[in-house]
Symmetry: C2
Subunit: 460 residues, 2 copies
């Protein structure tokens, strides 16, 4: 009885939804039609994205005092300078997206024919590779869904905020890229409804199994969908293959945070060092990190919309990889405690290897485990795909996401910035804000898509 | 087996230490000697705290450009202006302590004669009521323990950072007063050692039971000790009387955070509105909130140390109260989701009533539950004491801390900013940073001190 009560409070979502989500993960055979559907949405209208000089942006301007890129409304987001002064004395400056608003990334689920299904959206974003990717039901900034942009109302938003009608499976603020955003979080939600709703043209009900199949396709499931999926109370089961207790992991992360004390201040974009500005681009002289550019967008089918906006582009393709190892039940995951300039709470748990923007060729030392991950033989690569980062802020930025299995050469304790976590344990930390970074959450979604598949994951 | 493994990862500290801490909570009869010991420490040397004009501070100065109070080292802390612009359009400005450093608040525990004992310190702070209060083993800013102030080394710090020798019971960054500090956190740690150590003059081993008795005494156990005690994996047991699941509580807190979007920026202290400056004080014209002042301190027994520093003083005594209700096991606690200007992550769980500095006489509406709490008959007041806030930053600031039991008139669902939590559930959230505020954590320590006492708490 006491045990049952404990479960009620702590894990009700897992115990109530775990088995139903597992059922959905094993159902559905219509994933094959989704790439064609996205193509059809693409062909159904006029969609054009064109790079333009900053000076041709409309409703956006370069602030004459600071050089920052700002929206005329004073809302939405801005691109400013950021300076990080580490305790060690080193200083780093870069452009950063300042978007204090918290948006909603939400997926509606509903049981149809005995199976939980997810209402997914064919979502166009100007920076997307392929323009249309599969997104969550709702993907909206606060300015969007409260109507600051005077755009059309956000479909289905009423099931997430305000008069919410569904049961909440998860609802937590989650961070986005710490190399590009200043302390940005979005509200990640999954809500179950029981009533019948109209399914609009750009939306489809998919089972979790179908979404999992689509996660194996390059540049198809967008970042917003992936981060929401990572928060699902899934997979079911209590097994916990964690070599360290939660207290030990929290202590380890606390130690990393206190060793990385630093001062993070926004500064005028015009005055950051080592970055040069041309009429159409702001970039580092040495070609590292990101660059800022502007695009003009034409989009629509019946009604055509035009807008311009700045975007961030990566200079090189990045990589994000989890090294995992098998146990009798769930896999264990080698996690890195990583500090990035825009991280909300100093450090978060990150993939074993994450060199998303800087590449590594000109770094004094290669990131640990990078060589290992790149040299893993095919039979130990359990997941590999190119996945795009958010196309509303990034211009064709994709990363190679990998899940690779450790072999016997990877023995011994990892370096101090790394720890082995049980997968359920990592999921528990994902349930709280500011603990797991967005690249790791993408990999969690990818790992979940392998659930039930031998040899990595003994069925729970 | 699966269940045992889960416990290993999630709750090992509770399962391993819960029974031992319970044993310690029932042991010890030397609490009575502690007030006399603090008196004796006080009499053993010269201790004088005197208010001075800002202009007489040494190593501190008023920055001529900003009016901020800053230390010559550029470290330690500063007092600056803070402006909060809420989404609703309202603006609030006030002085704020900016202390980006993360200090250590740590208690060493050791089993002596079969009972876990806590190494507590007779700690002098200039703002303390009574100058000496009972503090944790270590209470040190990073500047202190890394030697920036060129002071003496911090005793026992080596058991907490660097070559840590103990087993960690808890280690997490915890927030401090959101009305006075800008996003400040300290590292709260409890570490068990097994080796023999020298007990210095200002330190004593106390059982948890003795500390619990001392928590009933006005202004004796300091804030730093209370917040560390609140993180203990105690009381033991799994019972969980929570009416809402953790997912529901997180969703509720996430909702409060997104409804309180705001912009928080530091600004020159000289230019904040509605605050007037005299040579010895910065205060609001209407007498509300806090005031800034400066003190000169002489302290020491063998060696005498002199220093000056600014402190914050409250204009009125505050109150922090939990309304609780009985269940078959642990109590339930009525928690408020509260936003304060300096809160690290927008909102935290706070006491049912917390009007620490503003009083309430001139507010348009009384805070909810304030009348209720003040009118509760004595037989429903389970805890009541005046407790001091941190004497290194606050000048004689104490608050009335109350735990009162609800009666049948308090039926129905609470307003949206309030939720009933099970005590174990509230403790779980305390295990993660940025979820529970420091006033609520003091009340958690007070509630823990009632553990095992009928009628509120059926023995677990």
């Amino acid at each position: 009885m006491a045990q049952a009560a404990t479960r009620t409070a702590r894990d009700r979502a897992v115990h109530r939804y775990g088995p139903r989500l597992a059922h959905s993960a094993q159902a559905g055979d219509r994933a094959g039609g989704i790439p064609g559907w996205l193509d059809e949405r693409r062909r159904s209208g006029t969609f054009e994205v064109r790079r333009i000089p900053f000076g041709e942006m409309v409703k956006w301007r370069i602030d004459p005092d600071t050089g920052n890129l700002v929206h005329d409304s004073g809302r939405f987001f801005s691109i400013e300078g950021l300076t990080v002064r580490a305790d060690s004395g080193t200083t780093w400056s870069q452009p950063i997206i300042n978007q204090p608003e918290t948006g909603v990334l939400g997926i509606l689920v509903k049981e149809i024919d005995g199976v939980l299904r997810f209402l997914m959206q064919a979502k166009m974003e100007p920076g997307n590779i392929g323009l249309f990717q599969l997104g969550p039901t709702v993907q909206a900034t606060r300015s969007n869904y409260t109507g600051v942009h005077r755009g059309r109302p956000t479909p289905y938003i009423e099931y997430f905020v305000g008069e919410r009608r569904g049961e909440v499976l998860t609802d937590v603020l989650q961070s986005e890229q710490g190399d590009s955003f200043l302390r940005k979080r979005n509200r990640n939600m999954v809500v179950e409804i029981t009533e019948d709703i109209e399914v609009r043209d750009d939306y489809r009900w998919l089972t979790l199994g179908e979404i999992h199949q689509l996660l194996a396709v390059d540049n198809l499931v967008n970042m917003d969908a992936r981060t929401v999926l990572s928060s699902l109370p899934f997979p079911p089961g209590d097994e916990d293959a964690a070599p360290h207790s939660d207290t030990e992991i929290l202590s380890w992360l606390t130690g990393i945070k206190t060793r990385h004390e630093r001062e993070v201040v926004t500064s005028p974009l015009a005055r950051i060092e080592d970055w040069r500005r041309t009429p159409a681009e702001i970039a580092r002289s040495d070609g590292r990190h990101l660059r800022v550019l502007a695009v003009s967008v034409q989009a629509g089918n019946r009604e055509v919309t035009n807008w311009t906006q700045p975007l961030l582009a990566a200079q090189r393709q990045g990589i994000a990889a989890f090294i995992v190892r098998r146990t009798a039940g769930e896999p264990q995951v080698l996690v890195q405690g990583l500090t990035q300039p825009g991280t909300f709470d100093v450090a978060e748990m990150a993939p074993t290897v994450q060199c998303v923007t800087d590449g590594w060729h000109d770094l004094p030392e290669k990131p640990p485990y990078l060589d290992y991950v790149l040299a893993v033989p095919d039979d130990r690569v359990h997941y590999s795909a190119l996945l795009s980062e958010e196309g509303g802020r990034f211009y064709r930025r994709d990363n190679r996401y990998l899940v690779v299995e450790a072999d016997e050469t990877l023995g011994g304790d990892p370096p101090d910035a790394y720890r082995w976590l049980g997968f359920s344990q990592l999921k528990r930390f994902t349930g709280y804000s500011n603990h797991v970074d967005v690249e790791a959450r993408t990999l969690i979604a990818c790992l979940q898509s392998l659930w039930g598949k031998e040899p990595l994951w003994a069925r729970g």
